[in-house]
């Protein structure tokens, strides 16, 4: 019945949710962090492609809330709860937060991967959502797909192939 399964795609600085038997996917995470939050029993899952750690750094008049860890994750939780997920049952898996290039620069943007990871973990802690598994850091890109049915997070990299969290 694979033809009835759909893959919901999430772009950069975006988020979305899905339910079993479908999956949700985001491609080419570098220093961005892909954060999956899901209810394993109701089989509802959401994914946010976080680009930056902290919305207070924004210099935009009209800010994209989906871009920042501290604003995107509460929105994702709200969407999951409206779709029928139980707040107390939510769990999280994360991947990404790499440092793609290593050169010295005055710009602290160069350490953005680890900072994104820290910010996502901090936000999950604040919301009381346990972090079940993570694959972060390093210097490689990752494409991730989460299957709402099984709770598996598939992670693909160019050099190391696919792994499952």
């Amino acid at each position: 019945m694979s033809s009835t399964k759909q893959v919901v795609k999430v772009g950069i600085a975006d988020l979305n949710i899905t339910t079993a038997p479908h999956s949700i996917r985001t491609s080419g995470l570098g220093s961005c962090v892909g954060c999956v939050i899901y209810d394993p029993v109701r089989k509802i899952a959401g994914l946010a492609h976080i680009m930056l750690p902290d919305s207070s750094l924004s210099r935009q008049t009209k800010m994209n809330d989906f871009k920042y860890a501290d604003t995107a994750l509460p929105i994702l939780v709200d969407q999951l709860v409206s779709a029928g997920a139980r707040k107390t049952a939510l769990k999280a898996k994360i991947a990404g937060g790499a440092q793609m290039f290593k050169f010295n620069s005055q710009s602290d943007m160069m350490r953005i991967g680890p900072r994104n990871t820290e910010a996502v973990i901090c936000e999950l802690k604040k919301m009381g959502i346990p972090l079940i598994a993570s694959d972060t850091g390093g210097n490689c890109g990752r494409t991730i797909e989460f299957f709402a049915e099984t709770g598996d997070l598939h992670i693909r990299t160019v050099s190391k192939g696919e792994s499952i969290l």
């Binding site: 491609s27 080419g28 570098g30 680009m51 930056l52 871009k67 793609m100 050169f103 620069s105």
Partner: protein, 211 residues
């Protein structure tokens, strides 16, 4: 700062910048590979972040990229991007060995990496120096970096530099190619000026940013 709207004159200026940078780089490339290298008219686009990856086949696409940050008065990011096959072709031409393969299954050998780095160095450096001369603004290149990875992961490095200010990137995209011979070298130059840089460029060239 609004970069969401650009006039046709401003677009022309940015296209010319792409022309001058890539023209100089194409000459260097031609000398390096001892072959004719052509380039297309640059395409200047103001597009949402998500669409930037689409310009080179999507966020998942495996690419070879040489990347540097422009430091100094007019910061920005320069990418030279090739497909794996194109990079392989480039190394073949530099080392005069037509049997060379990048073979992603094993570790890519140091020799190929250093050939690619050197080519990238020359190309991005000549792109930048032409640009800097033309607009007469001091632009310092960072040390270039090489990555062989997914387009999304690589391009987001440049986008993150813009992302506290905007959700759009100005991409000045110049393709180098040769239509007659598929075996010749190809590649893309991407210039992503930081938001604050765009008015400075227009200013330097005597164009009113707000006209």
């Amino acid at each position: 700062m609004q970069i969401e709207k650009l006039t046709s004159v401003q677009l022309d200026v940015l296209r010319e910048i792409g022309n001058i940078g890539a023209g100089n780089a194409a000459t260097s490339m031609s000398l390096l590979t001892n072959q004719k290298v052509d380039m297309d008219v640059p395409v200047v686009q103001l597009i949402p972040f998500g669409q930037v990856m689409e310009l080179i086949g999507g966020a998942d696409e495996l690419v070879v990229a040489i990347y540097l940050r422009i430091l100094g008065e007019a910061p920005g990011t320069v990418y030279f991007i090739m497909s794996l096959a194109e990079a392989e072709q480039l190394v073949r031409q530099i080392i005069h060995d037509n049997s060379f393969t990048l073979g992603m299954e094993e570790e890519i050998d140091d020799f190929a990496i250093s050939a690619l780095m050197e080519a990238g160095n020359i190309l991005t450096g000549s792109y930048l120096s032409a640009l800097s001369d033309f607009i007469n603004i001091n632009m310092q290149p960072s040390i270039p970096n090489l990555a062989i990875d997914m387009a999304g992961a690589i391009l987001s490095v440049g986008l993150i530099e813009l992302s506290n200010v905007t959700d759009y990137a100005i991409v000045i995209d110049t393709r180098m190619n040769n239509d007659e011979d598929r075996n010749r070298f190809k590649g893309h130059f991407f210039l992503l000026p930081d938001t604050e840089t765009v008015p400075k460029i227009f200013n330097a060239l005597g164009i009113d940013y707000y006209e």
